[in-house]
Symmetry: C2
Subunit: 228 residues, 2 copies
DNA sequence: CTCGCTTAAAGTGTCGACAATTATTAACTA
DNA sequence: TAGTTAATAATTGTCGACACTTTAAGCGAG
């Protein structure tokens, strides 16, 4: 789910070179291969990936739009530096946007989509029982679940903001801070309540539960980062 | 307020050429000089503004990031086409994000910021009394008010999403659909309630009022567009 | 006359080079 | 030796040219 070929085009694989470069660099940054705060040297990267500086600059521009790099005129681009404050800010935005997404999903998700989501949740449940799925659940499964609800909102603005912009930043934080929580059991239960509200077509309740869920997740992160 | 020199850099005027081009094109698109849905011909615009295609492409890339143009590989870029459905989507996103912004503003705005906001609101009141300020109120004053609350949230993610991305799209709709509402009196009152909640440091109430305010605004738009 | 193919034109994607700006080093003075 | 300035190197910004793709026009067969 998380590694769709390109940004948001429905076409097969990324056609243009700058697109592929963008995907490659985004993955490298998100997964930490290129360290946060490090400088992006255009000549060096261009040589490294055997592309022109022009194509590279286009890719960098799109990374900047997604707030994965910051560029200052005549000074070049740097990978963003992650901070506790920014992570909190992201959770606040998520609470607002995903709360709305859950509300809309309760109105707009099709029956088959709901069933697929329930199936996905059952799988997560099994993985938790088997105990070795904890890491997976927090790293991918959780985002997977949220991802589908956002899609279910059918609001393209919302989908773009969350799936194209925020989620990549969030994944970067997870890689960087090693955010595996012992909260998977609780998160699983909260997901369960949430999907029930959606299946019951209760927008108000869906939004409420989603916001509580994300607030809990945020508090968990706060605890985790303050003790380290 | 709405025409800051560049995107979000604190530097003086836009230094780089692509930056100026970006500002120019953004204004031209938002104000309708370049028609929605029209094709962006790189050679033509490059000649028209006497710049290289490279610089132009960088500017277009940033317009794409703000969803003011859509680009398809090997086919070029077009100014976005505005639709009723998309406008509704934007209002839903605004309700979520600005609701959160109001909540945070109630927690984080300084006393002086609150006073300035009250002063601004009084001016709006006078303009409405004098009757000839209606158009102004809806066109700029309203966004001005919302703009300041968003700033008052002190959440940079939120500020970026709303002020750098969504608001320009919204202004484009206002220019394009000629959205002047007869709702200025009611909107003024709602702004009044809202600022009281903020001054009282009541986050819950502030968010509630802001969401109601935006929902009202959305319903007004729905009415207006359905009768035309 | 229409449909399909071939071919020319225009447009986008990519590249390497030059110009302008910033960072670095070296020399020089106090 | 420390600080300042000048010269040099490296990096970014901008440009024009070439390669590939898409579109349009022209042409021929049915």
């Amino acid at each position: 789910m998380q590694n769709r070929p390109s940004s948001n085009t429905t076409d097969p694989v990324s056609i243009t070179l700058a697109d592929r470069l963008f995907d490659t660099l985004q993955r490298a940054i998100v997964e930490g291969e290129i360290a946060p705060g490090s400088k992006i040297s255009e000549p060096e990267l261009a040589r490294q990936y055997s592309v022109s500086r022009g194509s590279l600059r286009e890719a960098i521009g799109r990374l900047e739009a997604r707030k994965l790099v910051e560029r200052k005129p005549n000074l070049g681009a740097r990978v963003v530096t992650l901070s506790y404050e920014q992570l909190i800010e992201i959770y606040q935005v998520r609470e607002a946007l995903e709360g709305m997404a859950a509300r809309l999903a309760a109105q707009n998700m099709s029956e088959t989509e709901i069933e697929e989501l329930q199936t996905l949740l059952e799988e997560h449940g099994h993985e938790i029982e088997e105990q070795h799925g904890q890491a997976y659940f927090q790293k991918q499964g959780d985002l997977d679940f949220h991802y589908r609800i956002v899609q279910g909102s059918k609001n393209h603005q919302l989908i773009g903001l969350l799936c194209d912009d925020l989620y990549h930043l969030l994944r970067m934080y997870r890689y960087q801070f090693g955010m595996r929580s012992k909260r998977s059991q609780q998160a699983y239960e909260e997901h369960h309540y949430l999907i029930n509200a959606i299946a019951a077509k209760d927008p108000e309740m869906a939004e409420l539960l989603m916001r509580q869920h994300i607030r809990s997740s945020r508090r968990n992160v706060e605890r985790m980062l303050l003790e380290s």
